[in-house]
Symmetry: C2
Subunit: 387 residues, 2 copies
């Protein structure tokens, strides 16, 4: 327990817990799925929408914001909170994931990003000092290093920031993973040094790498814990399927001490949220709810896999809400037929309604999961949702 993080309740049958992360922009209730606002906007939604939905924390991407509009402009605007008008808790990643996913062509890459086709071979050099790469916007040569990432994130001014790590993909061998992890540890030391040097008010999260190898994950867990950052992330390759991912999370969480909030980077499907929370994960982030929305894949509790593809012709004259059990503004006011029509007509409002619904649905899911932990009903929650 620290001033930064309070555990309110622990589940009896698992490591699931409900807690609060205390930030300069208010309390963040955990478990929490951070909503991804890559380029300083959760696509189509306003911060007022996010508040109404009950979004607890927005995660923005350092890589994108460094390239455009640049951290200096954001700093002159008064920081990222002011720039985008989000006054709640905020997290930025380090930029590492985006840079390295350009260099490695991997399954992990495809699972996590699916934007590889736009970003082929843009990494020029990875070395102890950092990484040289080309901007996806204009091809300009850029450098990211532990120091630069912390400087950028400090200027952006999120409440929680991430250490700069090499995000190792699935296909590399154990030797590469070990060497990479060791470099990530030296980079973590440099991040902490730069963070102290800048007297940054942000809270730094160290990142546990080590791939799918239990012994490496052990070393990484111990190293990151010892380095005493206020929060911890689990990153890197989590295996080639969900079962392997849960094993990796399990081995880390079984070892980690329970004082700090633990964030699972880039993960957030419904089942992953449940499996992560029962292993002790406090926070998550995932682009899937918003990205799926833009592709017309919407959450609905009425379907076995909790999803429907709104563009399917079966919804053309279906005048029910997207999810009859959902109390979001979209489900209260619009039909599947109308959203289907908006997508077919390429109307912006379709993407907005879809995004609003998906974010509401999954935030509501996590909120209910949290409530179930607080009221000793976590098992019941899992049964009700079929997990």
């Amino acid at each position: 327990m620290t001033n930064f993080f309070t555990v309110q309740k622990k589940d009896k049958n698992s490591r699931a817990r409900a807690g609060v992360i205390h930030t300069a922009h208010g309390d963040l209730q955990t478990p929490c799925l951070m909503t991804v606002g890559t380029k300083a906007t959760v696509k189509t939604l306003t911060p007022a929408d996010l508040k109404k939905i009950g979004v607890g924390c927005v995660l923005c991407n350092t890589y994108h914001l460094h390239l455009n509009p640049g951290e200096d402009l954001v700093a002159r605007a008064g920081g990222l909170h002011k720039f985008m008008n989000w006054d709640g808790p905020m997290f930025t990643d380090s930029g590492g994931f985006q840079v390295f996913s350009m260099g490695h062509g991997t399954v992990s890459d495809e699972i996590k990003s699916r934007e590889r086709r736009h970003s082929k071979s843009r990494v020029l050099e990875i070395s102890e000092s950092g990484v040289r790469f080309r901007s996806y916007l204009d091809g300009a040569e850029k450098i990211l290093s532990p120091e630069i990432s912390i400087q950028i994130q400090n200027k952006l001014g999120a409440d929680m920031i991430a250490a700069f790590d090499e995000c190792t993909p699935f296909h590399v061998d154990k030797n590469y993973t070990r060497n990479s992890m060791e470099m990530t540890h030296r980079w973590l030391d440099r991040c902490i040094f730069e963070h102290e040097n800048l007297k940054s008010p942000t809270k730094l999260f160290g990142i546990i790498q080590g791939g799918i190898y239990p012994d490496l994950r052990e070393i990484a867990t111990d190293f990151v814990e010892k380095s005493n950052t206020p929060g911890i992330c689990i990153g890197g390759s989590l295996g080639q399927n969900k079962s392997q991912m849960y094993d990796v999370v399990e081995m880390v969480m079984a070892r980690i001490s329970p004082e700090k909030p633990v964030h699972l980077l880039g993960i957030g499907d419904l089942d992953d949220l449940v499996r992560g929370v029962e292993r002790g994960i406090d926070t998550f982030d995932c682009v899937t709810p918003t990205r799926n929305a833009r592709h017309g894949l919407l959450f609905s509790s009425e379907f076995p896999d909790k999803k429907l593809r709104i563009t399917n012709s079966e919804f053309r004259e279906n005048f029910s809400p997207i999810d009859k059990n959902c109390d979001c503004e979209v489900c209260q006011n619009f039909t599947r037929a109308y959203v289907n029509y908006l997508f077919r007509a390429n109307e912006y409002l379709g993407i907005r309604l879809a995004t609003h619904h998906n974010v509401h649905f999954i935030q509501n899911f996590v909120r209910k999961m949290r409530e179930s932990i607080l009221t000793d009903q976590f098992e019941k929650f899992k049964t009700e949702w079929g997990f």
Copy 2:
């Protein structure tokens, strides 16, 4: 004065008036600029946004909705109000303007639509019975006629609907304009017959054609007045510049009797609203506020021409609101720098914020104009705004 329309106040120095159009979906205060929701959506905005902004009436396009999703689907959804969840006053046009603007390549066309490049030569035949054309969606052959337009609009179920007319462009000669106008009058009779036949609860607006020719406009004005529709529209070519347009409006409005609401089709720049209102126009519709928004051209009272181009580099680090005198949600919460950035980053939210602001700005402008008429301050209003 009819049960449909009440004049509340007349200006002393002009034909400007404040009134109320009574519809099945509530009272519509005039003067009013209808907000265009072509395809059953005001692009990027929800009906709840429109309510908050104070939009009095939405205008949808019969042509687009006939082609997709089709009036039968809309009727099965419970009508257009239910389909798009707008429960306020609504107007549909006849589809004529869109069909004919495909056939005529004209200045009028370019001024009013700018979509000609997508719709070249799609009119197959114009005859007394109606018009055959190809769908812009799939090339399928379609027919519109007075009867079909009224049937479609009756199924869509707006509160106010428009008679099917040939919208004559600027470049045709007087002879063409006269013949076309006479056909439009015969079509109006057929529209009225079909409307009665269907026992449609919608309120039909006849359309005054006649181009820029005073004698033809006189004939058209008298014909449409005599045909006793609850409302009247002024349509067709209004000349090649604003001065000619104001002359055409003047000659019609000087002749028309003051019992019915008069709508000026497709017009709605700030100056046009003032010049139209002082000549006695009650309602307008115009795509410019929303279309300009999507192109980054935003209203701002701080500039001599009341507009700024948000994508200009001068706004990159401008942390003022779009318009410091505007009380809309966008100006209260976001800076020019942020909206500039969103446009440069091709983010949906940029278009949404721009649209919200432009619609708010011009609705506020019209609301203030109405208040000024009600309080005998119309001259002062014009002076303050520089008109």
